[in-house]
């Protein structure tokens, strides 16, 4: 019994330590983000490259997924709404569920699957190859050169791709609302506009920004935890990605609580 309690205690201490380290690192990054001296030609170059890799290269796949997945969900949602006789709430369902909740969630999952794993591996490989030491030897601040552009890119990508996903979902909604409810373009836009609340938009974008920070920051931290052995790379990526998904769930829950308040 004592061992079991001890195990819980050790796990709780580990978790608190890890959470504290992540939050401290996040605070450090946020402060650095507003330091003008952090941005030089090298950092700007990395930022542009990162935005290209994360937000532009993914576009064909992302748009395809947005159209297919968005259409299926919109059809299911509209058929359920029709069956329940809640057509008057269609705007609230489209905006409140599809745009505010589902769109950021699907976007962040797609970016995490593609970019977070890549960032985690990249940093772990750099650590194993002693390339982080190269940066130190030439007085290049890894925080400015490696971490900052990736985290800023995370924020930009989640916000941009989430907006794109929302537009695609609303556009497919327009088509299917016409088929299912014989709703005209004007009626559909009126219904949507009446369902938009400014505070919800703020919460949605705050959620996107928080997602953007943590789905890049956590892989960086776990990449840096890699040792000098090649075998530490998969372990670091595995641990990093598990924490990324835990962070996504925690942010989602916190945003829902914030909405309820």
């Amino acid at each position: 019994m004592k061992t079991f309690v001890e195990k819980i205690g050790v796990a709780a201490i580990d978790m608190t330590g890890s959470l504290k380290a992540t939050l401290l690192f996040a605070i450090k990054v946020v402060f650095r983000m507003f330091d003008r001296n952090a941005y030089n030609s090298a950092v700007k170059m990395v930022l542009v490259e990162q935005i290209y890799f994360t937000s532009v290269q993914i576009l064909p796949l992302f748009l395809t997924i947005a159209v297919i997945f968005g259409s299926i969900l919109v059809i299911i949602l509209m058929l359920v709404v029709k069956e329940l006789g809640m057509v008057q709430y269609i705007g609230r369902f489209m905006i409140g569920f599809m745009v505010y909740e589902l769109s950021p969630f699907i976007t962040v999952i797609l970016i995490a699957l593609r970019s977070s794993s890549a960032i985690n591996t990249e940093i772990a490989v750099m650590k194993v190859n002693k390339e982080i030491r190269t940066l130190e030897a030439f007085h290049i601040d890894a925080m400015n050169y490696l971490f900052l552009p990736r985290i800023i890119n995370g924020i930009i990508s989640v916000v941009f791709l989430n907006s794109l996903f929302s537009i695609v979902v609303l556009a497919t909604g327009l088509i299917f609302s016409n088929f299912i409810f014989q709703m005209s373009f004007d009626t559909y836009t009126d219904v949507l506009i009446n369902s938009i609340y400014f505070s919800d938009i703020i919460i949605m974008y705050l959620k996107c920004i928080t997602y953007g920070v943590f789905i890049t920051l956590i892989p960086i931290m776990f990449g840096l935890n890699a040792t000098n052995e090649l075998t530490s790379i998969p372990v670091s990526v595995l641990n990093g990605m598990v924490r990324v998904f835990i962070a996504i769930v925690i942010i989602e829950v916190l945003s829902l609580i914030l909405k309820l308040i």
Partner: protein
Amino acid sequence: MISLDIPLISNLDVLNNIALIKLYRDNLPKRQAEQLVLKLLNRYKLEDIAYKRSADLTDEHRFCVMLLRAAMINEATIVIDRPFIILHNSQDSSFMKYALNTIDDLYNQCHILDYIWNKDRYIKDNAS
């Protein structure tokens, strides 16, 4: 510093590995830094490796790139740590000498740290 413990960055090509120092430390615009690096690679007649990555380079090419990278620091003092580990096919220091002489205007001093048992490889070269 030139050492296998301070490797080239594997996800950057030769051009960006060398230009990085100027881009970061001197905030030189990207195009200007790239032109400078291409000009310096031309001294070794190595412009064709500008877009290659570390894994695709020969030992000699890698040594030249590491040397150029170290020389990118203003008023550089270059320290070469056990050069025959990087140039492990070289019998003597002749290539090292050629590489250093080609860019001698870019650095103030150069120090070579090596094992005592490699002394002959330098002496032999000096005698010839």
